[in-house]
């Protein structure tokens, strides 16, 4: 279930959410998606080189609840887009086993002004962290440990 085909683009709409089982190129995605919006705020999160105890990390594994996960992100993105008066919202999120430095999450928000773009981008990222059924497992020396809580803001 976790490694099925996960693409779920919603190109025509103002909200696009895709869960990738393979690496994505954030710059190609942004170039394709952003068009000429006056204001675009973006956030890119990557795998840290260290685990939560500061030791060298081998890989980070990301699991999700397919279907529910995309639905929750899409609903949050629509709600936050309306709330902040933004224009379009893009969310790309990886699942699977990722080496350090690999992109995990990309959030991009366009708007007519910098304030709505920045505020909506930050809010979508928080919603992702707290409301979407994703789980991280740190791998080190062949041993996996599920994380119990998110990194602090």
């Amino acid at each position: 279930m976790e490694s099925s085909n996960l693409g779920n683009a919603d190109l025509a709409s103002c909200v696009e959410v895709v869960i990738h089982a393979q690496p994505f190129d954030p710059w190609m995605a942004l170039e394709r998606w952003l068009e000429g919006a006056p204001a675009s705020a973006m956030f890119l999160g990557r795998v840290r080189p260290e685990d939560h105890q500061g030791r060298a990390l081998e890989a980070l594994e990301l699991a999700h609840y397919p279907g529910m996960c995309e639905q929750r992100i899409r609903a949050d993105a629509h709600r936050l887009r309306d709330h902040h008066g933004a224009d379009r919202v893009l969310v790309l999120h990886r699942v699977g086993r990722l080496p350090p430095g690999e992109p995990i999450v990309l959030v991009a928000v366009t708007a007519d002004r910098r304030g709505p773009a920045q505020r909506c981008c930050a809010a979508v990222l928080e919603a992702l962290k707290h409301d979407a059924p994703f789980w991280k497992r740190e791998w080190r020396a062949g041993q996996g440990t599920w994380l119990c809580a998110n990194t602090p803001l």
Binding site: M1, A63, M68, A132, F134, N150
Partner: protein, 84 residues
């Protein structure tokens, strides 16, 4: 839910819960007359004590652990989310 799901609740476990149980998905038979809550169904699975940090989704929507589940439902037990 297809015809095959009639008479069953589809139970999903994720992440640490899945590892701990040793399985990720099961079909649990329930009779149409049953009025079982998610938490009561958890107890029948023999997976140890319930933690208040876990959450329940019924048909992919977050629900109170005391919510009733019915034949044909998809019931998921979810450890704290750690995405983003």
């Amino acid at each position: 839910m297809g015809d095959n799901d009639q008479g069953f609740v589809r139970v999903l476990l994720f992440a640490a819960l899945r590892d701990q149980a040793g399985w990720g998905e099961r079909r649990i038979p329930v009779s149409p007359a049953d009025t079982l809550t998610a938490l009561e169904l958890w107890k029948t699975l023999d997976l140890g004590p319930w933690s208040s940090s876990w959450r329940v989704a019924i048909n992919q929507v977050l629900a109170d652990p005391q919510s009733p589940v019915r034949a044909g439902d998809e019931l998921a037990f979810l450890p704290p989310f750690t995405g983003g």
